[in-house]
């Protein structure tokens, strides 16, 4: 049986428990932070948080974030001043000084060379909002989504035969979704679309049940993988919205599910597996962006093309 506790002990336990899950005011924090019990409560909360995370499934560290952390780690081990050695210097300096402030900076695994060699496109905000405006004005696009069928009689395929055969197999399944890339450059509102996908055709075949799918492109510009790569994003109606309000409202403000990072060689037909990195409940938009080599976690959304699921 637990011995009865005194009122001040109750108060202390309340404070320690509260501190382990939320922030205390400065006076309370100063009073209890150095207590051994505070560390013990912190550890208990950490172990429970670990348990919840493991039971729900750990998400792998995104590749671009991982690369940035590796750079930070190397800088740290090399004894360099983190604040001068890293593209995340603001964050690094804050952590190094143990002064936690809201972090306005972030990196997406990019470096300055990549940014410089990458062809200029519109800013992410204007580009995406341009897409939105165009989409709003072009309601008839939905018609183009319906009934599209992937052309398969185009010669000079640059896609592996296996991708073609897997695509053909997927197309025979019941319940699959077919949707077309829309010509964003037609409205002259998106520079990335104009630069890379001006004469683009093709679309996406997607199996909602299995999350398998293939993208087909004809006319998508070739890329130098050392300079930039294409990346697919999937907007999922079942995922939370509002993570990235700078890109739009509703579904467009969500953090989309990243898909394949891929290259295009030559001018022919290209078939690319979708490779959704997370489960997709209900895909409503497939969007292809131009990104630095290796892809990113948070895109600036220089949209090349997108496909709407009816």
């Amino acid at each position: 049986m637990t011995p009865p506790t005194q009122p001040h002990e109750e108060r202390l336990l309340d404070l320690l428990a509260l501190r382990a899950v939320e922030a205390l005011n400065e006076a309370d924090e100063a009073a209890v932070a150095s207590l051994d019990d505070a560390a013990a409560f912190d550890q208990a909360a950490a172990v429970l948080a670990m348990g919840f995370s493991v039971h729900e499934g750990l998400e792998p560290l995104p590749d671009s974030l991982r690369r940035g952390l590796e750079r930070l780690g190397r800088d740290l081990i090399a004894g360099r001043e983190l604040g001068n050695a890293s593209p995340v210097n603001g964050v690094a300096a804050r952590a190094a000084s143990d002064t936690v402030e809201p972090a306005p900076l972030r990196f997406n695994g990019r470096n300055s060379n990549q940014s410089e060699t990458r062809p200029e496109t519109s800013s992410h905000t204007s580009g995406w909002i341009g897409v939105l405006g165009w989409l709003a004005a072009a309601a008839c696009l939905a018609l183009a989504v319906i009934g599209w069928s992937l052309p398969r009689d185009t010669p000079a395929s640059s896609a592996p035969a296996s991708a073609e055969s897997l695509l053909a197999s997927l197309e025979t399944r019941p319940g699959i979704v077919r949707t077309s890339w829309v010509g964003l450059d037609a409205a002259g509102l998106n520079d990335a679309a104009h630069a890379y996908g001006r004469d683009l055709s093709g679309g996406v075949v997607w199996d909602p049940a299995t999350n398998e799918g293939y993208m087909v492109f004809e006319g998508l510009a070739s890329n130098d993988p050392a300079v930039f790569q294409y990346q697919l994003w999937i907007f999922d109606e079942t995922r939370p919205t509002g993570d990235l309000p700078q890109f739009g409202e509703g579904i467009l403000s969500q953090r989309p599910v990243p898909g394949a990072v891929f290259d295009v060689r030559g001018d022919g037909r290209v078939v690319v597996p979708v490779q959704a990195k997370l489960p997709v409940g209900k895909a409503v938009i497939f969007a292809v962006t131009v990104e630095p080599p290796g892809g990113v976690v948070v895109s600036d959304r220089d949209i090349v093309t997108l496909a709407l699921v009816n």
């Binding site: 208990a44 429970l48 348990g51 919840f52 560290l61 081990i77 948070v298």
Partner: protein
């Protein structure tokens, strides 16, 4: 059936090796010798000595955990990325403070991660997004072992054991608070549970886990199996 694996701490955790391991019997709540597993070598001492490979290994071993914790407690992916950077820098810079006698390496790192995340929430003056909260209480209460990374098995076992002792309501409150960073008030509002009860559930859950961790630590330090 093997339910939960935990090492006999006669082999210090900061040294690699194969130890005799024990598993819980879920009914008896006693430990029995079951199998052997290889404990991963602690990395932070090597980080503190300036070993670049240890930094990489640290990301390999704990990157997914830190990222997952951050994703649950940050409003956006960008926030989570910033938080993860802060956390790892803090972990590496404080690697020399890690003391295996006071807790495991993964607990040390998860504790730093949570304090950073809580600080960020306080400074930002906001709460994380309320999403994906399972009304059923979240963590499985089955004693079956989940596929936890080796470096976290002991801790996940402690969490599972504590959760198995709680009611569904208590589990749910703990998950909303600790798993997703929701405030006491928000939990009370969302669940209809009185605020005082919410606080009590959280406090009792933490105290129980603290006791289990202490028990585990004592057993480890004595290097005995019950």
């Amino acid at each position: 059936m093997l339910h939960t694996v935990r090492p006999a701490r006669s082999v210090p955790r900061d040294r690699p090796g194969v130890g005799r391991c024990v598993a819980w019997d879920p009914k008896e709540r006693a430990t029995i010798v079951s199998e052997t597993i290889t404990q991963p070598e602690d990395l932070l001492p090597s980080v503190a000595r300036g070993d670049p490979d240890a930094v990489q290994a640290c990301l390999d071993r704990y990157g997914a955990l830190v990222w997952s914790l951050a994703r649950r407690m940050c409003r956006s992916g960008a926030d989570a990325e910033d938080a993860v950077q802060e956390i790892f820098i803090s972990v590496w810079k404080n690697a020399g403070r890690f003391d295996a006698e006071k807790g495991s390496e993964v607990t040390f790192i998860a504790t730093i991660a949570r304090r950073r995340l809580i600080d960020r929430m306080r400074h930002a003056g906001r709460r994380p997004v309320e999403a994906n909260i399972d009304a059923g209480g979240g963590m499985a209460v089955s004693e079956d072992r989940v596929d936890a990374p080796v470096a976290m098995r002991d801790e996940v076992a402690v969490a599972s054991r504590a959760m198995a002792e709680l009611s569904e309501e208590q589990r749910r409150v703990l998950q909303m608070s600790i798993g997703y960073g929701l405030s006491h008030e928000k939990i009370a509002e969302a669940t209809g549970i009185p605020l005082g009860t919410v606080k009590t559930h959280i406090r009792r859950g933490l105290i129980r886990v603290r006791a289990l961790l202490e028990e585990q630590r004592e057993r480890s330090n004595r290097g005995i199996e019950a």
